[in-house]
Amino acid sequence: MSAHRQTNSEPAYNFAYLDEQTKRMIRRAILKAIAIPGYQVPFASREMPMPYGWGTGGVQVTAAILGSEDTLKVIDQGADDTTNAVSIRAFFAKTAGVAVTTATEDATIIQTRHRIPEAALQGHQVLVYQVPIPEPLRFLEPRETETRTMHALAEYGLMHVKLYEDIARHGHIATTYDYPVHVAGRYVMDPSPIPKFDNPKMNDCAALQLFGAGREKRIYAIPPHTQVVSLDFEDHPFEATKFEHPCALCGATMSYLDEVVTDDKGGRMFVCSDTDFCEGRRAAGHHGHLYGGETLSKEAAE
């Protein structure tokens, strides 16, 4: 930890791990990110006691906004019980003493990797995304100075060219994850590797959405009730993924499904990726064709 050069008297123990100086720097970045929706604010990312792949950007954003009154939920690919989600939840329970939950509706802060919960989020909630690569133009232009200029000029033609190449090659836009969005009519933004199924949930969402990229040192935001449009073309409009099957456990027909192996004989089934949503539906009496009273642990099944 860096020395505290400012004069606020502070205990040796850091609430939520980060020192106060780092939190203030991240907080200032968050305020700018909210004021300029979709713009990537640089910040001085700190080392966290976990590997980068575990979402240190999201962890730092959560640490900077978290208070003792918060209730935290952490999901990884929609599930609360993966190693990554369990570890991050335990990290904040230990370093901040906050309440944790797996119930989407009970959470005030939800940190996520690769999914948006199925349940509609509320105005008092904050959704924090773990972002590996925040720059949507990076694969078109590796130089940071160039992408920054492209954003400054709102020069997004190349982005459309890339998507159009998809159409030329596949007959449709083949990008299914990390599908770029246009925020509030200005910045093109990377939504993190969520499935494009989730993209429509970002639009007019009641909750504040914050994005943290640790390795690339960027924070960006979508305020509540902000227009978020997935890039598309008049003759090839954006289409969210649709599933042919309902969830085998809860029968849901409107959720994002994962294919999971059920036994060592190659048996498979499609179940909700959002485990809290699926369990809630089963508890409410909705059952799919393979429901047998079990609760499925995603890690156990994989």
Binding site: R5, Q6, T7, N8, S9, E10, P11, F15, E20, Q21, K23, R24, M25, R27, R28, A29, I30, L31, K32, A33, I34, A35, I36, P37, Y39, V41, P42, A64, I65, L66, G67, S68, G123, R148, T149, A152, L153, A184, R186, Y187, D204, A206, L208, A221, I222, P223, P224, H225, T226, Q227
Partner: protein, 196 residues
């Protein structure tokens, strides 16, 4: 420096976080009053909510500017002592700028607007004010359909100044109005769409 300065946060970790969260909600929900009453001692040289905001966001990495009505007393000493922040030489150099709408002239264009590559390098205005029951209609990110901005006093040319600020988007300043009841945010993304 005056002999005795008012105290800062007794619980800096919790008080900074609580202040920041209220400010974050204010900026994320433009025009909406986010109720907040800082637990700072009331003898601060700034109204307590404004003092708390300064303590929560300032440190040695950033600078602050005080409008004329706030620059005579011990405000600068208070902020410097408790945060380590430096006073900005000009409005253009300020990360945070404090002013009292009842006493100071408001000129948004005087402050740092950011650059096309780094629009975040702009000033956030901390405007001491009071809440008005009626206000202007506003729209934009953070606002479901149409919201209301009820602030007093605002200069007669505020809508003209704000239109110019909005026209420069993504450049521009953001305003945090600070009242005894809490914070009201006005980020640069907000448009004023109707009169009182």
């Amino acid at each position: 420096m005056t002999a005795v300065l008012a105290r800062g946060f007794d619980q800096p970790v919790a008080q900074s976080q609580a202040t920041f969260r209220a400010v974050m909600q204010a900026l994320a929900n433009p025009g909406r009053l986010i109720a907040f009453r800082s637990t700072l001692d009331t003898d601060t040289p700034l109204p307590v909510n404004a003092a708390a905001l300064g303590l929560a966001l300032l440190d040695f990495e950033v600078t602050f500017h005080l409008a004329p009505s706030l620059s005579a007393g011990s405000v600068a000493d208070y902020l410097r002592f408790h945060t380590g922040a430096r006073a900005a030489k000009t409005t253009q150099d300020a990360a945070l700028a404090f002013l009292d709408l009842a006493k100071d002239t408001l000129c948004l264009a005087d402050y740092a607007q950011g650059t096309p590559d780094y629009p975040d390098r702009s000033t956030t205005l901390i405007a001491l004010s009071t809440r008005a029951e009626t206000g202007m209609a506003i729209a934009g990110p953070g606002i479901k359909a149409v919201g209301t901005l009820g602030i007093a006093p605002l200069p007669a040319d505020f809508t003209v100044q704000w239109a110019a600020n909005r026209a420069g988007f993504p450049l521009g300043v953001d305003i945090l109005f600070v009242t005894e009841e809490g914070f009201i945010g006005l980020p640069r993304s907000t448009r004023i769409v109707g009169g009182v």
